[in-house]
Symmetry: C2
Amino acid sequence: MNVVLNSGADSATDSINEAQTPQALIDALFLANTTVIRNRVDESCRTFFEASDAIDEMGIEGIRSKFMQCDAPTQGTTAEAYLDMFDNEVLPHCSHLASPRYLGHMTSPLPQFLPEIGRLVQTLNQNVVKIETSRGLAFLERQVIGMLHREIFGADRQFYENHLQARSSALGIFTSGGTLANISALWTAMRRAGTTGTAENSSPHADKPVIIGSALMHYSFDKGAQLLGAELHKVPVNDHCQIDLDALREAIDKYQQAGRKIACLVAIAGTTDYGSIDALDKIGEIGRQINAHVHVDAAWGGGLILSESNKHLLDGIAQADTVTIDGHKQLMLPLGCGMLFFRDPALSQLTMHHAPYAVRATSFDQGRFTLEGSRPATALYLHAALHIIGKNGYDALFSESLARARYMAQAIEARPEFELMTAPVMNILTYRYIPEKYRNQHIDDAGNIEINRFNIALQKWQRQKGDSFVSRTFRAINQYDNQGLTLLRAVLLNPLTTFEDIDFLLNDQLQIAHLLENEMAGAPATH
Amino acid sequence: MNVVLNSGADSATDSINEAQTPQALIDALFLANTTVIRNRVDESCRTFFEASDAIDEMGIEGIRSKFMQCDAPTQGTTAEAYLDMFDNEVLPHCSHLASPRYLGHMTSPLPQFLPEIGRLVQTLNQNVVKIETSRGLAFLERQVIGMLHREIFGADRQFYENHLQARSSALGIFTSGGTLANISALWTAMRRAGTTGTAENSSPHADKPVIIGSALMHYSFDKGAQLLGAELHKVPVNDHCQIDLDALREAIDKYQQAGRKIACLVAIAGTTDYGSIDALDKIGEIGRQINAHVHVDAAWGGGLILSESNKHLLDGIAQADTVTIDGHKQLMLPLGCGMLFFRDPALSQLTMHHAPYAVRATSFDQGRFTLEGSRPATALYLHAALHIIGKNGYDALFSESLARARYMAQAIEARPEFELMTAPVMNILTYRYIPEKYRNQHIDDAGNIEINRFNIALQKWQRQKGDSFVSRTFRAINQYDNQGLTLLRAVLLNPLTTFEDIDFLLNDQLQIAHLLENEMAGAPATH
């Protein structure tokens, strides 16, 4: 009984539940040999890596129009027939994030052992919410959390002997991503403020605790503040895109004078726009002075803690109360591996919950400490990567990545058509194309508005053309009197990207810009 | 260059980054052939299915002691050496959730095509937060959300033509699990109450909006209420473990008379303890009368909507404003596939967020509607399962599962040693063992306390013995004057479980109980 695996002429019609008994269906789904479907998935993966990233003439509206049907299938089909459909109807419309010339976003191709570990994670199907449903993997999760905790905070052996596998607290938690890690940190900070706070003001708004960070805070802080009923205050950044410490101190004074509770100071280690890193040591110091929770959002930059040559960029991180790291970014794990670390494990107790049918108060159940309930054993991805890549391996990968970013910055500066806006502190940089008539002169507000339009058109055309890709952002820029500028944004994470790929990408942009300038000289651009 | 794949005597020492150039490391991680590691993972999966579930003499403390080291490895190792270590040190300590005699929790083994789809999801590494990083898969996600929306709410063709792929709203979202789906629903309800509410009371407590549901609400509602600053009010249940509608109306009156805003009524379609289903139609009606948001937590029961023969159990669900379904439960998808559905897509706009570098306000970016940020394309699991299993296939699987539950209820009632506490409405039931001296008589409070202790010892002994397994819960029970009772809880989800397995499990318990009674007659139990 292995109808799932039928091949040959009749496979498309011989679906797994046509004219079968329930037992035959169960056998086909749960017990059949999976070689054929495995080989088909291999093929799909190969096709993905080999295909071009061009969006065909339909554009995004055309792709949209292909997914307009919403009847759930009544009759099942074979896995093979499904993959035929997938290859024809879905695969050609995926984003080619793995391409070495696709430098737009914060993911890289995964090391090839990881999707295999993924198959293991899903086959074991352990649920880390609870010891009964994960057993050893719950302790393994605490172990790898401890490994990174030690790299971040460097407490002594005795500390880890006491806390690594403690029953009553946690050194950190896995979350589905950086957003939930940040929100969990804010939740902790709010609980902490609540227990010591002085929320006795009359007006509802004046009751709200305050969270303060730079204007470059990730939008997860907007979500978290709204969820938790806090006020989020954004402080301007300096010319290096770090929080302006004087402005931070002023804001703190202002709120304190108004009798408001400052629940949390947020420092960023790797802003999403620029990769810039706030002065972690100074913010830690200020936090201690005013007795506020200090959270470091190191979703992007935190992975550098594993890199002997580069971890100095994170100096001061050990002063944080909580730290977010996103595994799917610098650590190149699959999406879904966010982490939050507690310097003091007692902080993990502030948001504890339990339930009689699920996680028990006095158990080892890890679910007591997480905002989420049932969770897959994503810890295994980190465990495998730490063992197979090792700190030395990550060190080499990070150093290569930073070298690529420096190369790209030089390559931009070597081309007079571009303006480098932010040099890379880490492996992100921003720049823009300056149309010929604006070069080598002061650019006024009207000029910048024109240049913004040009760069949006350039980025969209490049995206549609599909040979190379960067993303774009829109931010107030200090050196242009805080005017909002559209910037091209390159993320140099993909280890397969070569210097040649970078030159190709920039030259691709010059070529498109040339066409665009000609077109604009005549009629408005249509791309 | 494929050092990852080395086999033979030297593989353990020939790690991927020893004495190599960064380029060699990159080649080994990202470009090498993966056949060897794939075969090794196959072996690990096979071992897992064949191994026994017994916990060796060390017990849980012994397993814990094996994960006490927290130095992150400096030097990487081969994937093979890693899997050797995994097989020896981790795999033997996993929970055997896939065993047909492990009837304790709300997961089943996965249909075998799904971990292969998982490999595809991770290799494509699409990030569904944003069109640029997922393209077709973002539209596919909206498509499968629409398929279930239509099964739940059954709106007309025109509705889906307008809303399925609308730019400005969503019919539903994927979340990392049911907890986040429930919290997202409460967030929506609170925003909705905020826009029409009358929060003008003086005392901070009296400002809090109220969420009302039964005492059997999942603990995600406790988390959500704490996060959102709401008061969670729990109403008693009737003898069928459904919310007591008179008590619900009384609670509503009480809050309304006190001038409090009722932000949300929660109905449960499949309680975690019993699988019981609240009167969805009645609660929908009450919600409309008082203009409160109605949320149905169908994390456990929602999958039945695909089953022609069983969906009548969910009658009235279409009156809900929002519905949670957990894919990893009845739909047998991997962990990480929670869903929230909005009857009216305009509700999705109440919690919208965007950011200049991430999800754009006027884009198709799905991340605007989710509490989470970056997310994997888990929609593909549901898409594949709907096509390969089909509604007919799910119908057969559900019917088999409910038949197993009915069989087990009969088998319990046929054994005088057991008391069936709740007959299965769905595929969960609860019961307890009654020691001989308490049978066939009125059991007083002291007796129940004694019986609780006995059932805890029985469940722990069975868990440690490892031949079969049920979970346990602790709840106030109506028919015993609301005394808290420890109940054995069986979840009949695994399609590989046979009637023989059920008999085996019950006989296993009788045998353990016999030993336990003898032991207790002499000395206290040590298991």
